[in-house]
């Protein structure tokens, strides 16, 4: 790859597309983005929005009434002179003289106004009491409320949850530090919170409430006082908005990128680039660079706007760097989609699928930044942590960013395999194109080993996503073969087995379909064994999971049981457990390979058998160890 050629292609990609979009369209897009950013910024900053409910309730009350101050403090109310006739004319909803309500609410609006006044009164009283010099008299009962990062199994887990019983956090005012086990994943410091606030700002859940205004405070449960009924778990509103801010621009970028890449294929426009001295890498890199730079630039702008607009308390290059792997993943998936799609119609379907899938992967875990270590699966979690002023460790950074970055590079590699004359302009269905892409990396039998290793980042990302989406089912028990496993674990095991068996065998099938391998039993067994060996070697890459607290969750432990061994085992047992996965992967890959060598239906049948064998193995191990 030649940097100068790559940069030239990039320059002309910008020039060419600048001529393809008219200024009005750019203006409308820019305004839409600004408007969206402004709304999000208002939400993040805790503003009350456009004040659409200001003055919607008209209350007749004079200054002598104690309710005057309540209504004056609440912009929802419009204070009027007390006038019974106005009530009759429906020009006032409420009428107070002293402390007495003079009118009986009849309409829905009047009833809503009364409810709002009562809520407002409660808040007014809380604020008044909070200012009282004698706090003991004002609040006879004090409750220390600490929101801690979830660790170990869910407390709703009916299977006992030994790992979580040390992290109980709201059991009264005695403080919780002594009950927090050191293995509970950062929960111990939550006990340092001050008693009155209960905002949890000493714990990992802390910063959120402090940075939000009225809406945010309510949503995040940062209640300053009131009755026990006011206490509710925090909703990760701030994380949601921040993650949203970063993920939306990426979806715009991939639309433009996808159509640019596809247009090179339609009508053979890209053919002439292929006969220039620029290599495939130069062309793909050059055409991708502007979009990569654009997306990262937007992320940098958002970070700067949040930081220097005093909307977010922190924010640094860490947030921008964390976005890079995600951008690479989005672009690479789109690139593959553009190489597979046969038309813009098909590309639309592909990009929507990519958008939904990757947005879910990146966005959903990030919402729970302050709730569960599973959130670290998404690089956006690092962004949220950085913007809310929480430290981001190197191990967390690597754990969050390495899988999507490597997956992105693998996807670029697969797509680049099709970026040549004979594949680029053919109109083959997407599944066949996928096989073409896989077959592009196969030259000899040893390619089976290489491909299994190369595809591993995809496997890791898919498995992490499965954990993220299924961990909520961890608390649901399922009686399978007399065991009492959680539904989440069973489903995760199932999904993981399917992903791994496909990763080990699909490239083998592609090799057979493209006549790269000899269709003999001996050859099939050898290729399968090599594929299994490759996967086993690559699987050790899952040790990256140790960088996170993922194993502190039963579902994470179940998912990663192939990568790590329990401590304290005798050496021979540890050795056996280390080698058993090798045997498993080799056997199941060989089964699939034999099927693949005999055609599509035989492959499907053999793959099913391999999946069943693999699941049985995994389930047995998990039932024994977890």
């Amino acid at each position: 790859m030649q940097l100068d050629k790559l940069l030239r292609v990039a320059k002309w990609e910008v020039t060419k597309n600048a001529g393809g979009v008219d200024k009005r369209t750019i203006l409308v897009m820019a305004l839409s983005l600004v408007a969206m950013g402004a709304v999000a910024a208002i939400a993040v900053s805790g503003g009350t929005g456009a004040g659409m409910d200001n003055g919607i309730y008209r209350i007749g009350v004079d200054e002598s009434s104690p309710y005057y101050g309540v209504a004056a403090d609440d912009p929802t109310f419009d204070i009027r002179e007390p006038d019974p006739a106005a009530i009759e004319r429906r020009q006032q909803e409420l009428l107070y003289r002293g402390t007495q309500l003079q009118s009986v609410p009849q309409t829905a609006k009047e009833r809503a106004a009364l409810t709002e006044l009562r809520d407002s009164t409660a808040r007014y009283n809380d604020r008044t009491l909070a200012r009282d010099d004698n706090q003991t008299a004002a609040f006879p009962v004090s409750v220390t409320l600490v929101y801690e990062q979830q660790s170990g199994s869910s407390q709703l887990d009916p299977r006992g949850g030994d790992s979580s019983d040390g992290s109980g956090s709201s059991d009264g005012g005695s403080g919780t530090s002594d009950s927090s086990d050191s293995s509970a994943g950062g929960s111990g410091d939550g006990s340092d919170t001050d008693t009155a606030g209960g905002s949890g700002d000493g714990g990992t859940a802390g910063g959120s409430g402090a940075n939000l205004g009225a809406i945010g405070a309510r949503l995040t449960g940062d209640v300053q006082g009131g009755t026990p009924s006011d206490i509710s778990p925090p909703f990760p509103f701030e994380s949601l908005v921040l993650a949203f801010l970063y993920i939306v621009p990426m979806n715009f970028v991939i639309q433009a990128y996808g159509s640019s890449m596809l247009s090179e294929r339609l009508n053979r426009r890209g053919e002439l680039l292929l006969v220039t001295p620029a290599s495939r890498g130069d062309i793909i890199g050059g055409k991708t660079l502007p979009y990569l730079a654009g997306a990262v630039g937007v992320a940098a702008l958002i970070t700067a706007a949040l930081r220097f607009g005093n909307i977010a308390p922190a924010g640094s290059y860490v947030a921008v760097l964390a976005v890079v792997p995600l951008v690479v993943l989005f672009l690479s998936a789109t690139f593959c989609g553009a190489m597979f799609a046969r038309s813009f119609k098909e590309l639309t379907f592909v990009t929507v699928t990519i958008t939904v899938t990757l947005t879910s992967y990146a966005f959903v875990p990030a919402i729970f930044t302050d709730v569960t270590p599973i959130a670290l699966i998404s690089p956006l979690t690092l962004v949220v942590l950085d913007l809310t002023g929480q430290p981001v460790g190197l191990s967390s950074f690597v754990f969050s960013t390495a899988p999507p970055l490597l997956t992105g590079l693998v996807l670029f590699g697969l797509g680049a395999g099709l970026y040549r004359e004979e594949d680029m302009f053919t109109q083959r269905p997407i599944p066949l194109k996928v096989l073409d892409a896989l077959a592009g990396g196969i030259n000899s039998r040893r390619s089976a080993l290489k491909m299994s290793i190369v595809l591993l980042p995809l496997v890791i990302v898919a498995e992490l996503a499965a954990i993220a989406f299924l961990f909520v089912l961890d608390s649901v028990s399922l009686n399978v073969f007399g065991t009492n496993q959680s539904l989440g674990i069973v489903l995760v095991l199932g999904v993981i087995v399917v992903i791994e068996e496909l990763a080990k065998s699909l490239h083998v099938y592609a090799g057979y379909e493209h006549a790269r391998y000899e269709r003999t039993l001996r050859s099939a067994l050898g290729i399968g064994a090599l594929s299994g060996l490759g996967f086993f070697i690559g699987e050790k890459g899952l040790l990256i999971a140790r960088l996170s607290d993922l194993e502190s969750l039963p579902i994470g432990e179940a998912a990663l049981q192939g990568a790590t061994l329990p401590a304290g085992l005798p050496l021979w047992v540890a050795g056996l457990l280390f080698l058993l996965p090798l045997a498993l992967h080799t056997v199941t890959a060989a089964i699939s390979s034999v099927g693949a060598s005999r055609g599509r239906r035989a492959y499907a049948a053999a793959l099913t058998v391999a999946i069943v064998v693999h699941f049985a193995y995994n389930f047995t191990v998990v039932s024994t160890l977890v």
Partner: protein, 300 residues
């Protein structure tokens, strides 16, 4: 200058080109003709480095066709060359000049000279707004922006009106006179006949005949003899005060002479007429169904 050795291309089980070998000398204009699906375009794309031969090798100026160095010396014009329609001819040519490392001042001069020669106006108009003929001229200019030694043109006049077609063919002839080595394919055999030094005829992925025009005519064509007599002879047609009989062998000429003399007349003129390339092509195609014959050289 160009050396193709047993180049073969398979797509799955389909053989598009079956082990073709040929060479093209520097400054030569080499034609590839054949019916649709004969493998002409696949062969040209293998020469241009766009397609990797399943087996065999192709070299241009001693360089493998897949190297960047070779591409630097090559100008390729595919049968259909869709352009970036949002660009103008100038920006389009500058883009390619950039990719070929042509210095900006050289590129500027070269592209304006070429566009002048091609008589292309409206150079600031978007390519999407141009006619097919104008676009083809831009595509030709693009193929020359790096001043290549070798030009591979696949149906350069395909789909153009007769006026533009003639213009393009004349321009290609001019390039040949300037010393460019040109490999050229066309459906219009008249064009091939007019500018090619040597020709290969392909059918079903195979070279079924090769040679210069004389050799091909000698092997696949017919020499017709127009025998003019002073008296009527069998199958004779009156023409300009004499009688003309068309025969295809010297024996028949002699027999006609005898018939004329028997009738008291004589032969006054004999003219020869060679087969056109089109006739040669048709004969080869017909022969191809009965078996392949080679004319000039054995396939290496």
């Amino acid at each position: 200058m160009i050396d193709a050795r047993d180049i073969r291309k398979e797509y799955g089980g389909f053989v598009a080109v079956q082990g073709s070998s040929f060479s093209v000398d520097r400054g030569e204009v080499f034609g590839i003709i054949g019916p649709n699906g004969a493998g002409k375009t696949t062969t040209l794309k293998m020469l241009a480095g766009l397609l990797e031969p399943t087996s065999g090798t192709a070299e241009i100026a001693g360089l493998d066709t897949e190297t960047a160095e070779m591409r630097q010396q090559l100008g390729f014009l595919p049968e259909e060359s869709p352009l970036y329609e949002e660009m103008t001819p100038i920006s389009y040519l500058k883009f390619f000049a950039d990719l070929y490392d042509v210095p900006p001042d050289v590129a500027e001069e070269r592209m304006h000279d070429t566009l002048d020669e091609l008589e292309l106006e409206h150079r600031d108009r978007k390519l999407g707004d141009m006619s097919k003929g104008m676009k083809r001229k831009v595509a030709i200019a693009r193929s020359l922006i790096n001043d290549p030694d070798v030009l591979i043109y696949d149906e350069p006049a395909s789909g153009l009106d007769p006026l533009t077609t003639n213009y393009v063919i004349e321009f290609t002839e001019q390039l040949a006179k300037e010393g460019k080595t040109i490999v050229f394919s066309a459906h219009n055999l008249f064009h091939v006949e007019s500018i090619c030094d040597r020709v290969v005829i392909m059918n079903e992925g195979e070279i079924v005949a090769r040679g210069d025009l004389d050799e091909l005519q000698a092997e696949y064509g017919h020499t017709r003899y127009h025998v003019y007599t002073t008296v009527d002879v069998p199958d004779g047609v009156q023409e300009n005060g004499s009688y003309k009989r068309v025969v295809e062998s010297m024996d028949a000429v002699e027999k006609t002479r005898e018939q004329a003399e028997a009738n008291g007349g004589d032969v006054v003129d004999i003219r020869t007429e060679e087969s056109s390339l089109e006739e040669v092509f048709l004969n080869v195609a017909e022969a191809g169904t009965r078996g392949t014959r080679y004319v000039e050289e054995d396939a290496e």
